[in-house]
Symmetry: C2
Subunit: 242 residues, 2 copies
């Protein structure tokens, strides 16, 4: 299995305090899976320089790609770009190309490109800009680190511009069977089936609906033939009519 | 500021694949903040022994408490209890008190306490059980690690039983001002205000509503007097009528 791996770093006091419910992780997870990229870890850290630097260093070393969200606006708590530059040992300053994007945007909207807004043009040397079609201030990719905004509409727009530039992998296929029985009823046969198909991963997700226990069994893998074969076996073993 | 700190570890392939949207993190964040416990980091890792062990060791060392969710059911992919025991060097096996809880539950419901369900009675030596009023299978606290289920209704029920046993801290207060202007308009005065109140944290959260940019400014801290003073200054500087 040659699927690229990825991690995500969410920078946000507001998520750790419970004020805001993160929406970007779920969106990124679905998009990456759809392109055959395995999201292997997510971390959420506060708006603190040292914590961001430490997480960037660890996560980009362990995975093919690191996607970050949050902390690239104009205010004093927006420190992600500088922290990523520090983590990668890159110089950072206001860059002409990013500044031009902001200048054009604020001219169009009649607002002033003041000192605070100019901070959003701080881009590390060697980084490629990620377009922001919503509010102009760009994200950037520096080596394998992709830095995007935290506002969900902007995060999603940046991601859809970025993803075509990143190589995907074999499609990550999945099939699901909804079993009208609790996990405890099916655990033993399911475990045996999982051992017979070591190239696939078998997940079982219990739910309670109207007081009744049920389980969704999800089989994941990249080999469509194996997946079909396992699903046939699973249906025989555990299907509602089996 | 003597507030206890906490981290959360979410164990779940289904969240990393984008199949499921995590709900427990947001719930935990709100509950901890309400008790004066600072949630300082969240990690999400796959259902893999080594990854869970590594994260438990790192997170419990860096924080006063570690809360985990997911991976304590009866199926082959439920490996959290054993991984936590391994991380803390504790012995783990089916324990009489947990077994008795399960036996009573399954007798009541007329189901069999089979080998798979008995796995849910695997509890490390020295751990305190966390009650599960929904489906009996308990969580546990081992030293500063609190292991709970992933199903949100069960996670929430376990947490409400657990939290009264954990010492909280000074209330984490916050006040919010909704400023009908974009972040770029307010960033400079906001940054100056933040410097004048080093004991407080100032967050600014931009939003787009009907095409108009606005910002919510949140001030957080434990000193109510300081917070009130900062809020008065903030309203003078940035209030809609200011």
């Amino acid at each position: 299995m040659t699927n690229p791996t990825a991690a995500m770093l969410v920078i946000g006091d507001e998520i750790l305090s419970g004020r805001t419910r993160d929406a970007n992780m779920h969106h990124l997870a679905g998009e990456l899976t759809g392109r055959g990229i395995r999201l292997r870890e997510v971390r959420i850290v506060p708006d603190e320089h040292d914590r961001i630097v430490e997480a960037v260093i660890a996560l980009r070393a362990a995975h093919d790609h690191l996607f970050t969200s949050g902390g690239i606006g104009p205010t004093h708590d927006d420190i992600t770009a500088d922290a990523v530059a520090a983590a990668l040992g890159a110089k950072i300053d206001v860059r002409g190309d990013a500044r031009a994007l902001l200048a054009a945007h604020y001219q169009r909207t009649g607002l002033e490109l003041n000192a605070a807004r100019l901070r959003m043009a701080r881009i590390p040397d060697g980084a490629d800009l990620i377009e922001n079609p919503v509010s102009a201030a760009p994200g950037f990719s520096l080596e394998n680190v992709h830095v995007m905004a935290g506002v969900p509409a902007i995060f999603q727009a940046m991601l859809s511009g970025l993803l075509p530039r990143i190589a995907g992998g074999a499609p990550l296929l999945s099939q699901m069977l909804d079993v009208g029985r609790g996990e405890g009823e099916i655990a033993t046969p399911l475990g045996e089936l999982a051992q017979r198909f070591p190239g696939l991963s078998f997940g079982s997700y219990p739910y309670l609906r109207n007081g009744a226990h049920g389980t969704q069994v999800v089989i994941r893998g990249t080999d469509a033939g194996q997946l079909d074969a396992a699903m046939v076996e699973l249906s025989k073993l555990l299907g509602r009519t089996g």
